[in-house]
């Protein structure tokens, strides 16, 4: 997989180097536009991380750009420090600001996040216009010194161009390093299905914070370069137009790939040159191009390029190491102890003082009518929802208040009623993304392979997750859960939508897993599926256990019978 990624890196470098070489041979006007392209490519690279890869619609990228321009420019004007010092200052300052912003804003979702980041950008603009003593007000500050490097002034447009593009190459390399396997797959999983990612041990908060700060750092770098190349900082660098331009570049070029940011930046900075009749109204063309891209080719120009020219080689199973690896960890005897669990939604008690124990080598079935609290229980054990009262004890330590991803790291895995639907990951990548963070990459590849070999998905590793059949998608859910090396496995309706032969295959697999020491809790409606496979059956009604024990005993229990078959049969 890493070979695919390094090939991707080379493609990106070629996309950077060809226009750069062409630009080095043009006149100084052409070089200035290419310098601008490079600057915007850096800003768009940051936006590609937060928006393209993570899917968070930040509207603060223009603000970070402006903050970088102001902080570097003002330091340069007032203290006469070298460019690199000012750049460093701008980056640190903007990163700190983004960290402060991130604390309240990052936990907001979609449109709230967009609004909050837009509001912050608006406040920054107001400050820049009105804090005249420092910023120079609406006219901005002039007289920013020329770019210099280690005491040498870069006066020719050629030198400036090279400096900007070298910084771009550094930033692209950094981006590729951050997005190395398996993190790129984890981030995709995170973007498509945050809950699945969290219960697969991926720390959502950490990724969001990292990407938000990286986007700020890249934006500030671009802003600082912009201030130094034109010699002025003005409120125009903080206006919404900058944000919209960066967004348009990222989307039009292709938001899922670093090369897209570069392509988008080069295209859109040259567009006013190509359509001179639009004069200053080139933003009409930006808008039209953005609209066409989002409707016709949502993955942008690079997405089209990737689809038609580079054929994704996918993953070659044959080249995998054939070493036998155990799919699951050697779980010693482990136990999950739930006591006094209660949960209320408004006036409805979903769980009432529930007690339950799960132990190794044992399969427990959980049945009950709709609304009896089965899904709530699984959600609370896996950490997606919080209990109102009660404790959950895993091997002697209480975990009822730990985050979902930490519970996953400690050995609790789950599947969901609705299968993962992602169009950007194939089967292999999805499992690799969930593989336990404790191991190095090689081990994770081996482990993924081992899980696949015990699964009928072995022949389907290159199929995109969204294209799988229902049965295969359910199998994938199970494989992803296993990749986290669970001690406790919670299966939420694993047999729903499966044919009876597929159900038998699943039963056998679950049996094997239990024999390897995993403790399994299954919620399902199909008694035909549950009864042969479980060791113990728990019947839930209105949030309380009404019957519990070996299946035969529960089935003989009049209360359970009444729930399932009504009064007539009891």
């Amino acid at each position: 997989m890493s070979s695919l990624y390094s090939r991707d890196f080379i493609v990106t470098l070629i996309i950077i180097l060809i226009p750069l070489c062409l630009a080095l041979n043009t006149d100084s006007y052409g070089q200035r536009i290419m310098t601008l392209s490079g600057i915007y490519a850096i800003a768009a690279m940051g936006y590609h991380l937060i928006f393209g890869r993570l899917g968070a619609l930040s509207l603060a990228q223009g603000c970070f750009f402006g903050l970088g321009a102001y902080s570097a420019g003002l330091i340069g004007v007032h203290f006469g420090l070298s460019f690199l010092t000012c750049l460093l200052f701008a980056v640190i300052f903007t990163a700190l600001v983004s960290l402060i912003i991130a604390l309240p804003v990052l936990r907001l979702e979609s449109h709230y996040f967009a609004l909050a980041t837009l509001g912050i950008a608006q406040v920054a603009l107001l400050i820049a216009i009105n804090w005249t003593e420092v910023t120079g007000g609406a006219n901005g500050t002039y007289g920013i010194p020329q770019l210099d490097l280690f005491g040498v002034e870069l006066s020719s447009s050629n030198d400036v161009l090279i400096l900007v593009w070298v910084i771009l190459i550094i930033i692209v390399s950094l981006t590729f390093w951050i997005m190395r396997a398996p993190f790129n797959y984890q981030v995709t999983l995170l973007k498509d299905t945050p809950e699945v990612a969290a219960s697969s041990g991926i720390d959502i908060g950490r990724w969001r914070l990292t990407f938000f700060i990286m986007s700020a750092i890249f934006g500030a770098t671009a802003g600082a370069l912009q201030a130094y190349t034109i010699g002025v900082v003005s409120p125009a660098t903080l206006e919404f137009q900058v944000m919209v331009s960066i967004l348009a570049m990222t989307v039009i070029g292709g938001k899922n790939h670093p090369a897209g940011a570069v392509i988008g930046a080069i295209l859109l900075t040259h567009l006013p040159e190509w359509f001179r009749f639009l004069e200053t109204h080139y933003l009409i063309a930006y808008g039209a191009a953005l609209l066409c891209t989002i409707i016709v080719a949502p993955s942008g120009i690079f997405g089209l390029f990737e689809k038609f020219i580079i054929r994704n080689p996918g993953y070659d199973v044959k080249s995998l190491p054939s070493k036998e690896n155990k799919a699951v960890s050697d779980a010693n005897s482990t136990s999950l102890e739930i006591q006094g669990l209660s949960k209320t939604y408004g006036g409805i008690k979903a769980l009432k003082n529930l007690n339950m124990t799960l132990t190794s080598y044992q399969i427990v079935g959980l049945v009950g009518p709709n609304g009896s609290g089965k899904s709530t229980l699984i959600n609370i054990i896996s950490g997606l929802q919080r209990q109102d009262e009660g404790t959950i004890e895993l091997d002697g330590s209480f975990i009822e208040n730990t985050a979902s991803y930490k519970r996953s790291n400690r050995g609790i895995a789950r599947t969901y009623q609705t299968s993962l639907r992602s169009s950007d990951l194939n089967v292999y990548q999805a499992i690799l993304a969930c593989s336990s963070n404790q191991h190095n990459l090689k081990h994770r590849h081996n482990q993924t392979h081992a899980i696949l070999r015990n699964s009928r998905l072995i022949s389907k590793t290159e199929i995109m997750v969204g294209d799988l059949s229902t049965a295969d998608a359910r199998e994938l859910d199970l494989c992803m859960a296993l990749a986290t090396e669970p001690k406790i496995l919670l299966l939420d309706e694993p047999a729903a939508g499966l044919s009876s032969s597929e159900q038998r295959f699943l039963s056998t697999k679950i049996r094997h897993l239990a024999q390897s020491g995993i403790s399994i809790l299954i919620v399902d409606h199909s008694m035909d599926f549950l009864l042969p496979v479980v060791d113990r059956l728990i019947c839930l009604d209105q949030g309380s256990v009404v019957a519990e024990g070996v299946p035969a005993k529960v089935l003989a229990d009049p209360k359970a019978l009444k729930l399932y078959f009504g009064n007539a049969r009891s």
Partner: protein, 300 residues
């Protein structure tokens, strides 16, 4: 002192009423498609320019300034903006209806850019002034002096808000629109034409934006770069009022208008803006569901 403060409050309410129209349209679209229409503010600006153009046309045609009053133009603006709204939904929403809401967010940003800069190319960045609703001037009641324009803004906006309330709550069309926005699949299975409902909602929303543009065009002028701020005010009002609530949105929009005018008079416009954003961030921090509880389940 008394009439000055009353004047300020009336000013605030009339601005708030116009904001309420913008916000109502904004929420209707949010409820119908689960996505934000970022171009709503630009449609307000477009409505303002349409008013200016229609007024000039009528004055030039007849040399009778009475005929060019805002009240006469209002129905024309409503109808033509509704048509724009329909077109808008065909271009910016229909091809994307099965994609994530963020896609619609971006397509509406793109449409906003196109609208703003096309009008800018045609009219230039200078502010334009629209006609008064009925007439400018003031009425004096005892010691109170009240601007006729403000009273007529408040009256016409209230009338339109009541019409929307009546339409949504008391008519069969309104019931259909609400059903389609709550659960479009379910609505379609009982014979409601979902896509048509969404187009109607867009038309209604953009017509309201256009009406707000008309109401604001006399007192506050109309400039091509206004759209962004109007959109932000609506966005803030929706958040404060509780995402998806029509009544909360109207009340919050009134509050935003009042707050803005009072703060701008007492301190300065910049402080008013800054405090508004600060209030927004505080609400997002401590009460993300808005000051009124969330009416609909948020769709992701």
């Amino acid at each position: 002192m008394l009439d000055i403060s009353l004047q300020i409050i009336l000013n605030g309410i009339s601005l708030g009423c116009a904001y309420a129209l913008i916000t109502l349209g904004f929420v209707l679209v949010i409820n119908a498609i689960g996505a934000v229409n970022f171009a709503q503010g630009d449609f307000v600006m477009a409505g303002g320019f349409l008013t200016v153009v229609l007024a000039e046309f009528m004055v030039a045609d007849n040399f009778n300034p009475i005929r060019a009053s805002g009240v006469i133009i209002l129905p024309l603006v409503l109808i033509s903006m509704a048509c724009f709204g329909f077109l808008f939904s065909m271009i910016a929403y229909k091809p994307l209806k099965n994609r994530p809401p963020v896609t619609v967010f971006i397509s509406t940003i793109a449409m906003g850019l196109i609208i703003q800069h096309s009008i800018n190319a045609g009219f230039g960045p200078e502010p334009q002034i629209g006609p008064a609703l009925i007439s400018s001037g003031t009425i004096t009641i005892g010691t109170l002096t009240i601007s006729k324009q403000q009273i007529s803004i408040i009256l016409s906006a209230s009338f339109l808000i009541l019409c929307v309330g009546f339409l949504m709550n008391k008519t069969q069309l309104g019931r259909k629109l609400r059903a389609a926005s709550q659960d479009s699949e379910m609505a379609e299975s009982i014979g409601i034409n979902g896509p048509q409902c969404i187009s109607i909602t867009f038309s209604l929303a953009i017509a309201l934006a256009g009406a707000a543009g008309l109401l604001l065009s006399n007192q506050f002028f109309v400039t091509t770069s206004d759209g962004g701020l109007y959109m932000l005010k609506a966005y803030i009002a929706v958040t404060l009022g509780g995402w998806g609530r029509l009544d909360g949105a109207v009340i919050a929009a009134l509050a935003v208008g009042l707050f803005e005018v009072i703060m701008a008079t007492l301190v300065s416009y910049v402080v008013a803006e800054a405090l508004l954003f600060a209030a927004l961030l505080l609400v997002l921090l401590f009460r993300p569901s808005g000051l009124f509880a969330e009416a609909i389940q948020r769709r992701t």
